[in-house]
Symmetry: C2
Subunit: 309 residues, 2 copies
């Protein structure tokens, strides 16, 4: 799957991923009204509104991008109905040929981590049959519990030729509270980064590992250091646009081969129609605004990568 991701990035010239993190207030009124007319102001209605919103954005952008990253929390907030929309979104993105990074940030011990891995990447055994649960292609994983928490994900990822991205340095302002604390003179996130590189050697693709890392766009200097610590690790970089990062700040996340990173934008793409730059599209054409925002993001990042050569 890491090979497929690399091939799709090369083909689209777009080392980007669209974050499908739909807050209900991103969903234009006309879509919400239509869904509530059919299902009432219910969890089912909200889940339908989110689904229609996602579908239009995917339809308007899938030919430009290699991958999407649905943030499961935004679906889980609507309970079971939201989870149905999560699954429906994953399946639809697969139909459109997109790679799906499930942003689930799971992580637990031994058999429990394995259950998460099975549910999101693998197949569960039921009597003599096997079934996929949510069937994403990659998932994000939290490293706080150490190797016991990570290895079951690697085991299932190997069986399925899928991958994971482990949190190393997150994009939020308070990420430093624990991640930046010095251990033998080096910040915790560097120790985690070293461990990610070591775990990654257990599940290599041709040039990059199936075990990736998450490093926030908001910390370019740390990204530069981590790029060197984890040379064969693909880095998923959240925090582009809305959270502050721009193309020129992000070139250090890439290797000299122009690969090794994939930049996520969520709000900046899916709620583009609310931004000054894309207001002209109007809420009715929100998906066209998202398409334009994707094009602009690709130009920004590709331009920065060309300029850095």
């Amino acid at each position: 799957m890491i090979q497929k991701l690399i091939e799709k990035i090369k083909k689209t010239h777009a080392p980007i991923v669209v974050g499908l993190d739909p807050m209900l207030n991103y969903v234009p009124d006309h879509i919400q009204k239509r869904a509530y007319a059919e299902f009432g102001e219910t969890l089912e209605g909200a889940a339908e509104a989110v689904w229609q919103f996602n579908k239009e954005i995917v339809d308007a952008t899938y030919d430009l991008i290699p991958a999407v990253k649905p943030q499961i929390a935004m679906y889980e907030q609507f309970g079971l109905e939201g989870m149905k929309t999560f699954k429906r979104t994953v399946d639809y993105c697969h139909e459109k040929g997109l790679i799906v990074l499930g942003d689930v940030k799971r992580g637990d011990i031994g058999s429990t981590s394995e259950a998460y891995a099975v549910g999101h990447l693998g197949k569960v055994q039921v009597g003599s049959r096997q079934y996929y649960g949510f069937n994403e292609d990659f998932v994000t994983v939290n490293p706080y519990l150490g190797s016991d928490g990570i290895k079951p994900f690697i085991k299932v990822a190997k069986e399925e030729k899928k991958g994971l991205f482990i949190l190393v340095k997150t994009s939020n302002p308070s990420s430093g509270e624990f991640q930046d604390r010095l251990i033998d003179g080096r910040p915790l996130y560097e120790w985690v980064g070293e461990q990610v590189a070591a775990w990654g050697r257990e599940h290599m693709g041709e040039t990059y590992s199936y075990v990736g890392a998450v490093v926030g766009a908001t910390y370019p200097a740390q990204g530069k250091a981590l790029r060197k610590i984890m040379p064969k690790t693909f880095i998923l970089v959240p925090g582009y646009g809305a959270q502050g990062g721009r193309g020129k700040d992000l070139v250090h996340f890439f290797n000299d081969d122009g690969l090794g990173a994939i930049i996520n934008s969520s709000r900046g793409i899916i709620a583009a129609y609310k931004q000054e730059a894309y207001k002209k599209f109007g809420p009715e054409n929100f998906a066209e605004a998202s398409r334009q925002a994707v094009k602009d993001m690709i130009a920004d990042i590709d331009g920065a990568l060309q300029a850095a050569k």
Copy 2:
């Protein structure tokens, strides 16, 4: 809710929680066969088998215990059908008067953590209406992302008078890889513990905070140190029995008032019928075996607490 938990612990003399973490191989054959006869060897069949298993265990133990802790990973592995059984289990435990600790180990940044908190503890707004998603009473949360990741949970917990347990020192063998690393001469888990105590002051009950901690039974010495660092923090202690901890090792997790900790056992209770000590019950009477295992666990822990007085 922390007051209700304390009252129920006092009334039952049972500072314990039963972990509803059903692996399919814990579910006796006769239950699996019945479910597959009705729904086939499908995800629906597996979810039905797990539900019937849970229901019998809850029916056989609810009068002895204050709380249950369903581990959501064990449901997530069966996809949407598993999530339905998770919700059904939470609702049924509430009907039986039990407090539900959702072992979800979620954690993300800002608005994403808030979405998780809304989905598991709070109510989501849909138009003019509000709905609970999964509606647990407490959830477990991962601290790696720092305050941004935790405060949204505290905000929602305050609104709902519910609580959380933050991972501090987990029970697994490799928990030390990052958690034990020394920062200014003290292990990371102590720094996290101090922060948990500080966060806890923002949401106090009468004597204990609504913000608790998770500290593994397998690390009694660390439990002792953390008890002092977080005097008003309720500690959720996994790892009893199957993972190694016993009553006498756990007295240091409690304060002198006999409170301040709640010990979890999962496999040791729900799969008791598979253990030598409870084999006489047989798979048909697995729930009676669980009831006996609960009684034995209460006697072990209460005995150890009395002996330590």
